[in-house]
């Protein structure tokens, strides 16, 4: 709008926008509401006002041992992210600060590995994991998640490192900083926000990964994705409990996600949209 919209227009848009937003959010909202209903309440029909009981959250832990898959999700997403960062930071660093003619090509190639359909390697990966005793292990799954997200982590770090103005590093050099000093006092403080953003996005992607985490686990290493998926057969009587489990499963990532909108755009559009 070239000039400030009239208040009437603004109210109009607001109403429409809120309706759309609430409609989209409704499934999540209703799940949260259902999680604090009793089981009979949950199947009694559409009702937005729950009784507000937390018994489901308690049951989910005591009866179903929710804690284990939750911890697995945490370990797998944080672990694979840290591992990916350890491998990716030097790579992104060297590409951002010592680029060669091949740098762009290598980056594109890395991103292209993400485009390979997972099913294409389902057979060999499954067999390899089985033969090496990696099936249903946190180690195996962490390695897997690291590999599949590595291209995105490298890419995101690369874009953040590139944004550090070269002149500031040169100034540090002229100010007498050795390479180590340059890294510690100038480069790292300026790179930390970018590394944090990348960490955030990758934790989200790893937590929600729902193919390999289901294929390669059974009980021990099963994270929340596999845990929830195991309830796919209809057992309507315990829907309130399932809502509680679902709410717990999505809550951390939902909140993290609210803070990572910018990172999402940067990480998943591979720089094509600014």
């Amino acid at each position: 709008m070239a000039r400030a919209a009239s208040t009437k227009q603004k109210v109009g848009f607001t109403i429409v926008a809120w309706i759309v937003a609430l409609l989209l959010f409704f499934p999540i909202l209703y799940t949260i509401i259902t999680s604090v209903k009793t089981e009979p309440e949950a199947i009694a029909g559409f009702n937005l006002i729950p009784s507000g009981t937390f018994e489901n959250y308690v049951t989910v832990q005591t009866q179903r041992d929710y804690f284990k898959p939750f911890m697995n999700s945490v370990i797998l997403s944080v672990g694979s992210t840290i591992l990916a960062l350890i491998i990716a930071i030097p790579a992104a660093w060297s590409m951002a600060f010592s680029p060669t003619r091949r740098t762009k090509d290598i980056l594109m190639w890395m991103l292209s590995t993400k485009m390979m359909p997972a099913v294409a390697v389902l057979v060999p990966i499954y067999l390899l994991f089985r033969d090496f005793g990696l099936l249903d292990t946190r180690l195996g799954l962490t390695a897997m998640l690291t590999l599949i997200n590595l291209p995105i982590v490298v890419w995101m770090l690369y874009t953040y490192f590139r944004e550090i103005p070269g002149e500031i590093l040169e100034a540090a050099r002229m100010d007498g900083a050795s390479l180590w000093n340059e890294i510690v006092y100038v480069l790292t403080p300026m790179a930390i926000p970018g590394i944090a953003s990348t960490l955030l996005l990758n934790v989200i992607l790893a937590w929600n990964e729902a193919f390999w985490t289901i294929q390669l686990t059974t009980t021990n290493a099963a994270p929340l994705t596999a845990f929830i998926a195991s309830f796919s057969s209809p057992q309507g009587l315990f829907w309130a409990k399932l809502s509680a489990a679902s709410t717990l499963a999505i809550a951390p990532i939902l909140i993290l996600g609210w803070f990572s909108q910018k990172q999402l755009v940067r990480g998943l559009t591979f720089g094509a949209v600014k």
């Binding site: 040169e170 540090a172 002229m174 100010d175 900083a177 050795s178 006092y185």
Partner: protein, 333 residues
């Protein structure tokens, strides 16, 4: 202290030769300006002196010491970057203190030096702010402060005023010149603006495509340009050039005459022309005259000289102010 000598310095990037070969001597305490059009290699030359780029061949000496292979920090120079290159996550105080911290000086010594520099540059009240909270001019001063505390043999300025608005540029020009008088340290200053060059330099080095066209004091370059390039680059508005028939009486290929050295008359003169656009600046008026046989000629008139678009006018070049150039573009004296 700040004596810098370049011997046959050459720089190539891959297949492109940016600087074919430069010999240059900069005396201690001089304010030297590298000036030239975009891409002439002046920034590259500065960076070679700083050590931020390696020479492809040739030597650089500072105070008799060969520093060609030495890292920037060891050369005892300080640089003020075009974008200031301040550390965004550090306060002004820490920005200025950084080089001293790298030199592992005592905290007490560092504090004193930072405060001294801040005082000279009027930054004392900003010491605890971050660069993001400062204006362009203030950031400039912080960058200069960071350079001053190093007490270098020479200051290197890479187009420091380009990012400032016109009014601020004028003020900062004076401040930097004043600083030079105070510190008496060698300063090498890169700019594309010939006004900055003329007003600030002791010695100007005019560069074109990696080659030195001429080295001299501002007035030397103004009065005695060695070639067409320097003649056309120094002086604003540009010198007028004419070749062919017009140059014949002067025994050369091309003649040049500055707008300020043309006498104007409505009745008689050497050249006759028709007035085009007249630019009234108040104190001066610059007339763009279409002279028969030559083309567009710019002439300076006093602010009170009244002419209109389309008027007839006569221009007479001042004797002794006509520059003569041969076919190669070199000055004939």
């Amino acid at each position: 202290m700040g004596n810098i000598t370049l011997k046959k310095v050459n720089k190539t990037f891959g297949a492109t030769t940016v600087i074919p070969g430069i010999d240059l001597t900069i005396e201690d305490g001089e304010f030297v300006v590298f000036v030239g059009p975009s891409g002439c290699g002046k920034s590259t030359l500065l960076r070679l002196i700083a050590g931020l780029e390696d020479t492809s061949s040739g030597t650089i000496e500072i105070d008799g010491r060969d520093v060609t292979a030495e890292a920037p920090a060891r050369r005892g120079l300080a640089m003020v970057f075009q974008s200031y290159a301040l550390y965004p996550h550090m306060t002004v105080r820490n920005n200025i203190a950084f080089p001293l911290k790298m030199a592992k000086l005592d905290k007490g010594v560092i504090d004193k030096k930072v405060e001294d520099a801040a005082r000279i540059l009027n930054l004392t009240s900003y010491l605890d702010r971050r660069p993001g909270q400062l204006s362009g001019g203030q950031r400039q001063r912080v960058a200069i402060g960071r350079a001053i505390v190093r007490e270098p043999s020479a200051f290197l300025f890479d187009e420091p005023l380009s990012n400032l608005d016109a009014a601020l540029r004028g003020t900062m020009r004076l401040e930097i010149s004043e600083l030079h008088h105070q510190l008496k340290t060698t300063m090498i200053y890169v700019t594309h603006d010939q006004v900055e060059a003329m007003t600030m330099a002791d010695k100007i080095v005019v560069l074109n495509a990696g080659n030195i066209e001429q080295v001299g004091s501002p007035l030397d370059l103004y009065n005695k340009p060695d070639n067409l390039f320097v003649a056309g680059f120094i002086g604003s508005p540009r010198m007028n050039f004419a070749s062919g028939e017009v140059a014949k009486p002067y025994n050369c290929h091309t003649i040049g005459i500055r707008p300020e050295h043309l006498a104007l008359s409505k009745t008689s003169g050497t050249w006759r022309g028709v007035v085009g656009v007249a630019e009234h600046l108040g104190a001066d008026t610059f007339l763009h005259v279409n002279v028969e046989g030559i083309g567009q000629v710019t002439a300076r008139a006093g602010g009170d000289f009244i002419v209109n678009h389309g008027d007839e006018i006569y221009l007479t070049p001042e004797e002794g102010r006509i520059h003569r150039f041969d076919e190669k573009g070199l000055a004939i004296r």
